[in-house]
């Protein structure tokens, strides 16, 4: 498929080969991981149709997103992507395990598999540095280890976390990210997993539909925390990407936040401007899952309340069950917004050169992590 504007997909999920993860682990984590103990998985909710698109497999039944070559040929080529950001499947779950040394070692090994096995195979591949939120010192070490790698363009954590992301506890992560000029992103899916506590403020939902729908509450809470705690006052160059957290809730929450600020600003005296100003400047959103109201005009009206061109970046979430195709997402935005949403905002956030200027990313030296 040919499209008129460059497309950068900001959320694609490759599956890391666990045998390769073992190759990059030092003992005792190598033995632990090789024995099948990979740390926390999901809460075990049920999606009758499965969590992956049922047709995201090759003719021989291999997962298209399990191999760099098939992901290139059967996804990047098909949708004519200029770049895609690869966010490793399962990293956000492992990142909130109770044993932080183990979590950090596995995430480092997964990052190494990305750097060695994936990035060198296709100049369109970019990836996130996975870190765990529970031990910011370890996370910062990992950011410094890989932060200058040209293929690693963002720091990634799950939106399930022990405490809100605005708190000072996380400053080492933000300081390290800013040092390497990397945006920090959060991705949903580990709410309720490991040591994150209940998935939403009311506790443990019974079903996947309830859990999945209310994931947005993590995003509301983290966003308000980031703003009111003054993270962007302290780190004025930091960009924070809310991946897969939805878009439609942002305007009304910002109305509420701005209104509260007018009365309550004494408690957050570092905010010199309305909170929504900081959001516009520092927060970026990925488009998937597109909300689909019965009347499409309602979505259009809602998007008018947001600085779409500055804030929203296309994402497919491939190969997950709730993904969006490029065409479907493009139609949801106004014509004059598409260039920004489909590629240019992401190009700026991730400092991506125009495709003609790209060179393959060089392999990184393999090292084991203890």
């Amino acid at each position: 498929m040919r499209t008129r504007v460059p497309i950068i997909d900001t959320d694609i999920h490759p599956t890391m080969d666990p045998y390769r993860v073992v190759d990059f682990l030092a003992e005792p984590w190598r033995s632990r991981f090789a024995s099948g103990n990979h740390g926390p998985g999901t809460l075990g909710y049920w999606n009758a149709a499965g969590f992956l698109q049922a047709d995201a497999v090759t003719d021989t039944g291999e997962g298209i997103a399990s191999h760099p070559e098939t992901l290139s040929r059967l996804f990047f080529d098909v949708y004519d992507l200029e770049y895609g950001i690869l966010n490793s499947e399962s990293a956000i779950h492992i990142g909130v395990g109770p044993d932080m040394d183990f979590s950090a070692a596995v995430l480092s090994a997964m990052n190494d598999v990305m750097v060695n096995d994936w990035l060198p195979t296709d100049p369109r591949f970019r990836a996130s540095i996975n870190v765990g939120p529970s031990d910011p010192q370890l996370a910062a070490q990992e950011i410094h280890r890989l932060g200058n790698h040209p293929g690693m363009v963002q720091v990634m954590m799950g939106s399930g976390a022990r405490i809100p992301y605005g708190q000072r506890f996380y400053h080492p992560i933000y300081a390290a990210a800013v040092e390497h000029d990397l945006p920090v992103a959060i991705h949903p899916g580990n709410e309720g997993v490991g040591i994150t506590g209940p998935p939403n403020a009311t506790g443990y939902p019974s079903s996947y539909i309830e859990w999945h729908t209310t994931l947005v509450t993590s995003y509301i809470s983290h966003l308000v925390s980031l703003i009111t705690e003054g993270v962007f006052v302290r780190f004025p160059t930091l960009k924070f990407v809310l991946v897969e957290g939805g878009v439609s809730w942002i305007p009304p929450i910002l109305w509420r936040l701005d209104k509260n600020w007018k009365a309550l600003r004494q408690t957050t005296p570092w905010l010199e401007r309305p909170p929504s100003d900081y959001v516009r400047e520092h927060i970026r959103l990925t488009s998937q899952p597109m909300e689909e109201p019965e009347n499409p005009q309602h979505r259009k009206a809602l998007l008018e309340m947001l600085d779409v061109e500055q804030m929203v970046m296309f994402s497919s979430d491939y190969p997950h069950w709730d993904g969006d195709t490029v065409d479907f997402a493009a139609r949801a935005f106004m014509k004059e917004q598409r260039t920004q949403v489909l590629g240019e905002t992401a190009r700026a956030v991730y400092h991506l050169p125009r495709a003609s200027a790209t060179t393959p990313v060089v392999p990184h030296e393999a090292t084991a992590h203890g």
Binding site: N47, A49, Q53, A54, D55, W321, D322, G323, D327
Partner: protein
Amino acid sequence: MAERNQSQKPERWPVARTADIAPGECLIVSIKRHSVGVFNVNGEYVAVLNVCPHELAPVCRGRVSGTTLFSPPGEYRWGRDGEILSCPWHGWEFDLLTGKALTDPRVRVRQYPTEVLDDTVFVVL
């Protein structure tokens, strides 16, 4: 078999032997450049355009199964085995006997008539 001509009038296209498509299975064929899934729904042959009305996924590559019937809260009643097609992308469920989405009868997959003569399945398109 009817004479084929160049008009747009629907024609009968032989697509399979009846034994080639077992109950619950689907054969995807190409007719007039359309990808069409031919399902055996408990002995009845059903032809479906292989395009989901939602995001245009190849819907016929989805799972055929039963589903949970409407029931009081906390109860689960399974039924309609072999009659429900779930889209491989987003899991939207379609009633193979009517083409309608279970959540919204206005949303439907496109269906074509079928005929069985002797042991041959035809799609009319």
